[in-house]
């Protein structure tokens, strides 16, 4: 039995178990319900409004962006939060104390975060199918695009979440950092309003990050081809989408392992104790 493969398999079952636990946890499920409800409410109020100059409903134009945002949010903020918390509560150190424990831990985390992200994606899609009639016309090719964009979106964001989670000194810092990053990027990524409405230099910044391309990819999958006219360059730019998302994935996957290793190597019981004492001071 190859110990590394064995640990990876343990990671799969670990991820599934953690995912099931998050389904029965009031706090986790509450967050999902609140954020999903917010999205659905937005879609509901947009259902009769039209994108100016077209007969496309505003809801249909927003929904793909929400799907893209969901993937990026779950990937980045989910990974940051999990790592930051599990460094402090000892989960990581426990993994370190096991033979091949870090392999199991990482695989488990990737599985549980991916399942959470895909679960969120499915909920919004189901809500969309009910509220946004245009979605039914997407066709098999469209759904295939949704699948690969979603997958690449996870790959492009999860490793970066791991990097931020490793560098942050406390869960609070981590949460603040990741929310700030997400907020800043989503403001310039044309998720809730077209990127073409932004100043040119903001458009450049927006296009440098994966979130814009996630939204664009989802729109290309779910909107009629004519809607591409509203995009930058009047095209869905599928090759550029693939290229940018792949570039972020590769960079993240190259960068994350050494940073994770460095962080894990430094983890020790006394370091955990120091952080815990600091946390207690913040509360007390």
């Amino acid at each position: 039995m190859n110990p590394t493969l064995h640990a990876a398999r343990l990671g799969l079952s670990r991820g599934w178990t953690e995912f099931k636990h998050s389904l029965t946890n009031a706090q986790d499920i509450g967050f999902t319900i609140v954020s999903t409800t917010a999205f659905v409410v937005v879609l509901y109020f947009q259902r009769d409004a039209k994108v100016p100059g077209t007969d496309l409903s505003l809801a249909a134009a927003t929904l793909p962006g929400i799907l893209g945002l969901g993937m990026a949010f779950n990937g980045l903020v989910g990974a940051v939060g999990a790592l930051a918390v599990e460094r402090e509560d000892g989960t990581l150190l426990r993994a370190k104390a096991l033979p091949q424990g870090m392999v199991g831990y990482l695989v488990g985390r990737i599985v549980s975060l991916s399942l959470t992200a895909v679960g969120g994606l499915l909920i919004v899609i189901v809500a969309g199918l009910i509220l946004v009639p245009e979605l039914a016309g997407a066709g098999a090719g469209g759904w295939l695009t949704v699948a690969w964009v979603a997958l690449l979106g996870l790959l492009a964001t999860l490793p970066w979440g791991a990097v931020i989670g490793s560098l942050a000194t406390s869960p609070q810092t981590a949460a603040g950092l990741s929310m700030l990053t997400m907020g800043g990027i989503s403001a310039v990524s044309g998720i809730f309003y077209p990127i073409t409405a932004l100043l040119p230099w903001l458009q450049v910044i927006g296009q440098a990050f994966p979130l814009y391309w996630l939204g664009l990819g989802m729109r290309s999958a779910l909107l009629p081809d004519a809607a591409a006219a509203a995009e930058l360059g009047g095209s869905w730019r599928p090759l550029e989408t693939l290229g940018v998302l792949l570039a972020w994935s590769v960079a993240g996957l190259v960068l994350a392992p050494p940073i994770l290793r460095r962080m894990a190597r430094r983890e020790s019981g006394s370091l955990m104790q120091v952080r815990r004492e600091r946390a207690l001071q913040r509360i007390g």
């Binding site: 064995h6 178990t17 019981g269």
Partner: protein, 305 residues
């Protein structure tokens, strides 16, 4: 093997008769020197208690042995390997119980123990099947009733027993226990002591534990190490340490309604004389050697100068 590594003293001259070897271990956190030349060895199957005041560097020492922390200088070997360079096979031979965990709160006890135990399966050998059976282990640490409960719903003592169970689920050859019984009630403490005895008797596990409970150290350990001022200042069985500090025993008795106390090096001879002289008038006889606590305090006082 290169000449330079031989000059560095980096050649592994490990004696297979030792489970743990530490010599000239130094550890500094910035300008703060925590360990200043710690030396000791532990034979396979030995149970060692590491005592010392708070901040003496007990946890630091254990973390270096576990491979969780790089020493500033010194020679350290655990199971013949330098901990900082230990691979996963080496890791599989260790059991680690830290001072505090609060991880995996959502996992049911038996499920967590089974999951963590499975990591050791590739390292199972006919002579040492790994991991231990989850059910038996849960029973051994007295958590049968809580087996289905979520970890976050356990009491402090129960949580600690689970930590110990996780530490031994892989049938370690060397087990590190950092204050394992903090927060135990007397019954749990006694059960834990039985468990440690069984581990060291049946499985020949080498155990290094830190504790503030001197009574516990005396009951469990074959040998006691006292760490103070960044060095090992005493090394020996509880009995030997007591004799080194003071050979005197206190003899107390009563005669004719009066209480007497006398300190003597040879209590047996003194008591024999006492009976020869007074016979049946002697009552409430009590002979008390210096306890480990007396010894410990005396050694620390001497160290502080």
């Amino acid at each position: 093997m290169s000449v330079t590594s031989a000059l560095d003293g980096d050649i592994n001259v490990t004696n297979t008769d030792t489970a743990i070897e530490v010599s000239g271990l130094h550890m500094s956190y910035g300008p703060l020197e925590v360990l200043r030349g710690v030396d000791f060895t532990v034979a396979p199957g030995e149970v060692i208690a590491l005592l010392g005041p708070n901040g003496a560097g007990k946890t630091t020492t254990i973390e270096i042995l576990e491979g969780f922390r790089m020493p500033s200088a010194g020679h350290v070997r655990v199971l013949g390997t330098e901990p900082a360079k230990g691979d996963e096979r080496w890791r599989a031979g260790l059991g680690v119980v830290l001072q505090s965990w609060r991880d995996h709160g959502r996992w049911p006890v038996h499920k967590l123990l089974e999951h963590l135990g499975r990591y050791y399966a590739p390292y199972s050998t006919p002579g040492r099947p790994r991991p231990l059976d989850t059910g038996e282990l849960i029973e051994a640490v007295g958590l049968t009733e809580q087996a289905g409960r979520r970890v976050s719903r356990l009491s402090g003592g129960q949580r600690r027993r689970l930590d110990v169970a996780i530490g031994i689920v892989g049938r370690p050859e060397v087990l590190f226990l950092d204050e394992p019984t903090a927060g135990f009630d007397p019954q749990a403490r006694r059960d834990f002591h039985d468990l440690v005895h069984r581990l060291s008797d049946l499985d020949d596990t080498t155990i290094l534990l830190t504790t503030h409970d001197l009574d516990e150290a005396e009951k469990l350990a074959d040998r006691i190490l006292i760490l103070a001022g960044g060095k090992i200042v005493a090394d020996g069985s509880a009995d030997r340490l007591s004799r080194e500090v003071s050979r005197d025993a206190q003899v107390r008795w009563s005669r004719g309604g009066e209480q007497f106390v006398h300190a003597t090096e040879d209590a047996t001879a003194f008591v024999r004389d006492l009976f020869a002289q007074y016979g049946e008038q002697i009552g409430d006889l009590e002979v008390r050697r210096a306890t480990l606590e007396d010894t410990y305090m005396a050694i620390l006082k001497k160290e502080e100068g």
